[in-house]
Assembly symmetry: C2
Homo-oligomer: 317 residues x 2
């Protein structure tokens, strides 16, 4: 008989649950609809359903604990989840206690914010193995983050630590959705980046990008840009390279203040690889304080979509 | 018989030493020349001289420990000090051990970076009393900082935590001495701020500032600007207000990432009071993430020049 944990990754569309080994292997997993439009009580029922179904697949092996990761602000009480985006009628809800009551079994149960848990997953099983301190960045639709400090998730005084996307890189830059000005998210978050690309490409009618989208500007997104750039298109390369540089700027400022030497970047856009990581690292080497220069670097995350389940499992290991 | 500690504030010009009560009162203090141009061995002799002289004034009261604060990077070993600015022939030097050997008595002895110690002093005896987490900023010639996290000085993985002055507020802004671009220091550090003021005032010949310096641009500094502004000069008010705003921008980004709600700002320029704190707080309220908005604020430091001795003393309490 082996000892495993269960990791649950709550998303706006699906609840994913997996059996995770202490070495970080997902033994088995499943996915059911979240029903996020039906309010938190129904979502909890779905989570419990997912937990029960995956537990049934554990073949009698011991389940040492259950971790659940959720979008939104997870309170310092380790129970309350506030306003997860795309979940209806969900202001502030006692997620941990509701799951525990619904399960009715006594087993260690912890919840955590999804970006923080992904950072933990990278620390335990991914690009951050052996590293005690790093900034984790999820570069996708938005720019999210988590901070691993002294080997643990950094929550901050109010539980919302790691909102790296809302550090400003230009005090008089574009207004961000959050209310701040010049946030790194408002430059390189997927939506903003696509819009920047459309503006930049307006007079570059010979760019391959226009061929790839059949002239349809609304289809320009980071994947198309990456595709064009990897085929040698200069304009697309320039756009992705600038995005990498800007992220490097924001990471450097963080490193200077917090004295960190490592950034780990995951999320959809980061799939562009060297195209973004090379200019990112160039900026970091140039911009961090002299004592950090020999050691500072940014590397790709390793766990991709598995980070949620693995991070959730990692909470109870 | 009372129990006190000794706090030593090592500066480029003078070594200040004081007897400090556990309540944060400086009972007695003295000051002797540092002789920073004569190398670290002579500086250590001066420190020991200062310690011995102030100990002689303790009137037989118990001295529970000695704290020494120094400019430069203090290593995580709590011994080595690297490259304090304005100290000659000082690359990397074992300051703690050298003082301990020279003193020849067995008494708790700790060293710390001066900005970090000033942050600790504000936490123990000043504007940060009762606060577990805040960013401390010294706004003077440069822009320095220290971070109090969970009631303790945050050192970071390499001992250089809190270099807040070298966070960038504009990715394509002015080049800073440190090599980074758009650092907050390169906008509002005293030298840079004076230069900005001269440029701004060039065509504002009727500004009171020009009268106060008899038309001599090289004499324009934050004190003059503050003087003119407090007498109602619009241009000087604008310059100081903008400087406060920019500091607010940098503090907001820090608050967003680290989830902090408090900034404490000291140093010479901060003496301008409301003139800078009001615009600073306006930016902070506008720019921090929604959950922080009701609580985020920046307040003036309270300890001024005493922060060094008090912070040094605080190290061994």
């Amino acid at each position: 008989m082996n000892k495993y944990v269960i990791g649950v990754d709550l998303g706006g569309t699906t609840v994913k649950a997996g059996i995770v080994s202490f070495g970080g292997t997902i033994i088995d997993q499943l996915s059911i609809p979240t029903q996020a439009d039906k309010g938190p009580e129904i979502v909890v029922k779905q989570i419990i359903k997912a937990i029960n179904e995956i537990t049934a697949k554990a073949n009698g092996n011991e389940i040492a604990g259950i971790g659940v990761v959720s979008p939104g602000l997870v309170g310092l009480d380790g129970n309350t989840v506030e306003a997860p985006p795309n979940f209806k009628n969900w202001d502030s809800f006692p997620l941990r206690d509701s799951i525990a009551n619904g399960l009715g079994v006594s087993i260690p149960l912890r919840i955590e914010n999804d970006a923080n848990a992904a950072a933990l997953a990278e620390a335990k099983f991914g690009a951050g193995r052996g590293e005690k301190n790093f900034l984790f960045v999820i570069w996708g639709t938005g720019v999210g983050g988590g901070i691993i400090m002294d080997g643990k998730i950094y929550h901050g005084p109010h539980g919302g630590g790691g909102e790296f996307g809302h550090a400003s890189i230009e005090y008089d830059g574009p207004v961000c959705n959050c209310g701040n000005i010049g946030c790194i998210e408002s430059y390189i978050g997927q939506r903003y980046l696509s819009a920047r690309a459309v503006r930049y490409l307006k007079d570059k009618t010979d760019s391959l990008v226009w061929k790839l989208v059949n002239g349809n500007a609304s289809e320009i997104d980071p994947r198309i840009l990456y595709d064009a750039a990897s085929k040698g298109d200069a304009a697309a390369t320039e756009i992705m390279s600038e995005a990498g540089e800007l992220l490097g700027v924001a990471i450097s400022s963080f490193m200077n203040i917090m004295n960190f030497d490592l950034g780990i970047v995951g999320g959809g856009v980061s799939a562009a690889g060297d195209l973004v990581f090379k200019p990112m690292n160039e900026q970091v080497k140039k911009r961090v304080m002299a004592p950090l220069r020999p050691v500072a670097r940014v590397i790709p995350a390793q766990l991709g979509n598995q980070a949620g389940i693995l991070g959730a499992g990692g909470l109870v290991m």
